[in-house]
Amino acid sequence: MQELVKRASELLADGSVARVLGWKAGDLPYNPEPAYFENEEQLRSFVYNGFCGANLSKYMIEASKLEGKTLVFLKPCDTYSFNQLMKEYRVDREKAWIIGVGCRGKLDIEAVKRSGIKGIESISEEDGELKIKTLYGDHSISYAEAMLERCHSCKGKEHRVYDELIGESEETNDSERFAGVTEIEAMSPEEKFAYFQKELSKCIRCNACRNVCPACSCRKCVFDSNKFDSAQKANTDSFEEKMFHIIRAFHVAGRCTDCGECSRVCPEGIPLHLFNRKFMKDIDELYGEFRAGEDAETKGPLTDFTFEDAEPGVVAERG
């Protein structure tokens, strides 16, 4: 981490960048927040640890409008989002100085708490174990067990866009990425409906999934329009929460990089990434393997047309 701070200070001092976008230490052992730093003094509170899961790419939409360059720290998976945002002309590459930071998987405090650990006083790491002191005794949990779901199906530790790299990464992929989707595909229509009904009935329409999503970068979301016969903040009927999530999944299909932020931030723990992964799996099967955000140039299968394109759906079947 000291190396990141040192490099940030240098780039601020020589005027290469006007500000730094990183993470600031929190007031609990697990709650750092995304933050801007403009001088060495402010950088004293900079932190980069297992709890810096927040993907800073989307903040670069606003940072691209500011004077001068912004140094942004991106983890390998965050760079896919940045590429995709570049492809959509939502961020300005010239306004960014990207330091790719090493990643050995990011932690999920909800996973820690789910294991029954409460009253957390401190968290330290020893040999792949998190040692957690609590008001109710000492606990330990393996680093892997405390990781975010997305890190178990990590798309690789290679940064897809950067100006320089600092820090080492460790492979964390230990599960089949589409396993969750395959499981749901195997369900009967009734079981599928019951599954999604149960999960989505928890939705409180906080819009955290949408607002954190780098693919949701419309200046004004249709759900925020008061001309739309719907409300972004309440479900007018029992179908609406499903409609919101299904529409959102359709809208980001082919553009979603599987960064997993939607599932990380959902206060109700809804596995929203499963919707997106269903689209990814279908796209892979219909058009060949494709990964949004691998680069900033390639046209996506849903925004390109070739005569060889698959013709899925009932329209094609009808002929």
């Binding site: 009253g119 957390i120 906080c206 004004k220 972004q232």
Partner: protein
């Protein structure tokens, strides 16, 4: 003081539910929220904070006010019926009880909110002391005692027993209804628990949070502070903090086109949303800094200014636990404190 063995709690819930609707913390798809009791419900009384606060029981996230129906040239208007059946809400914590007190200030003052008032009249609250407070709790900063949940009935979970003490007429009536399931309990066991809870509360990282400098008199000073420009920046403008909050009370009224009429409903609003307080002339808050500032000014300045110094934050810690960007009211209060220290 009464008590009941925890193994008999299901019988207790069955008994209550046989007479009245019963809401309590239920685990559904991995998360605990207040829900209607049923034989299949997976009741979870160990979880300290439900994801959403229990305020839905009195002020639901979305409720119909009236329905207009069109039949040819005839239009009928059907007002929504007020709550007329008694119900019990079981397991509320001291912070959430205080949250209801905050809502009372808003909805039971003139003009009376009849929908809310009917639910308050018909609801009996059984509250629970917090055996195992967590690091996100800061009720103590608002003078709330997690060991003394003063509701219609107060309860304390002590090992294999739940101690039960009716404190109001409604509480006595409920106790009478379930009396056959209760044994006599000793005060000593409960006193020991209270001491223990208060001992833990004193050790919590946020328990020394000072609210000095926040009151109804500091409007200009706080409103004009340059700190807001820094504090709001990581805010995603989602509504998580407001929708999990036990005291957030702002609502919107909307019309839903049913095809042959209109359903007028109200739903929680969030000051974090761009159309919050939208009026014909536009919106008086035009950026996220202003919307972010509104939330904390409302809780810590405007509300106390209008309600004899009462804050509209109760320190439940839900926003601390749930903000996607790890922002929260504690960080805001501390940021102002630190600024004071540096001057």
């Amino acid at each position: 003081m009464y008590k009941i063995k925890t193994e008999n709690l299901t019988a207790l819930f069955q008994k209550i539910a046989g007479h009245q609707e019963l809401y309590l913390p239920v685990r559904n798809a991995g998360q605990v929220n207040y829900a209607n009791w049923s034989d299949e419900a997976e009741v979870d009384l160990n979880v300290l904070n439900t994801v959403k606060s229990p305020k839905d029981a009195f002020f639901p996230q979305s409720e119909n006010l009236y329905t207009c129906k069109r039949d040819g040239k005839k239009i009928t208007i059907e007002p929504e019926q007020l709550k007329s059946q008694n119900f019990v809400i079981f397991g509320m914590r001291s912070c959430d009880l205080k949250g209801v007190e905050v809502l009372d200030k808003v909805f039971l003052e003139d003009p009376l909110d009849t929908f809310y008032a009917a639910r308050r009249d018909h609801g009996t609250i059984v509250a629970m002391a917090c055996n195992e407070p967590e690091e996100t709790c800061f009720c103590k900063a608002f003078g709330i005692d997690a060991a003394e949940p003063n509701a219609d009935v107060a309860t304390w979970m002590a090992g294999a027993e739940l101690y039960w003490e009716p404190l109001t007429e409604k509480g006595e009536a409920l106790t009478e209804m379930v009396r056959e399931l209760l044994d006599d309990g000793s005060e000593e066991a409960v006193e020991e628990m209270k001491t223990n809870i208060r001992r833990i509360i004193a050790k919590l990282p946020y328990s020394d949070l000072s609210m000095d400098g926040w009151n109804g008199e500091v409007l200009d000073e706080k409103f004009n502070s340059e700190l807001w420009d820094e504090l709001y920046k990581p805010c995603l403008a989602c509504g998580t903090c407001t929708f999990v909050c036990p005291t957030c009370q702002c609502y919107d009224i909307k019309d839903y086109d049913t095809g042959n009429g209109v359903q007028r409903y109200r739903c929680w609003d969030s000051c974090m949303y761009s159309d919050f307080t939208m009026m014909a002339h536009g919106n008086n808050r035009t950026n996220q800094m202003q919307r972010f500032r509104q939330r904390f000014m409302h809780k810590l300045v405007y509300f106390p200014a209008n309600n004899d110094g009462m804050y509209s934050c109760v320190g439940c810690g839900r926003c601390v636990a749930k903000c996607p960007s790890s922002l929260n009211i504690v960080k805001v209060v501390k940021a102002f404190q630190n600024q004071g220290g540096e001057q």
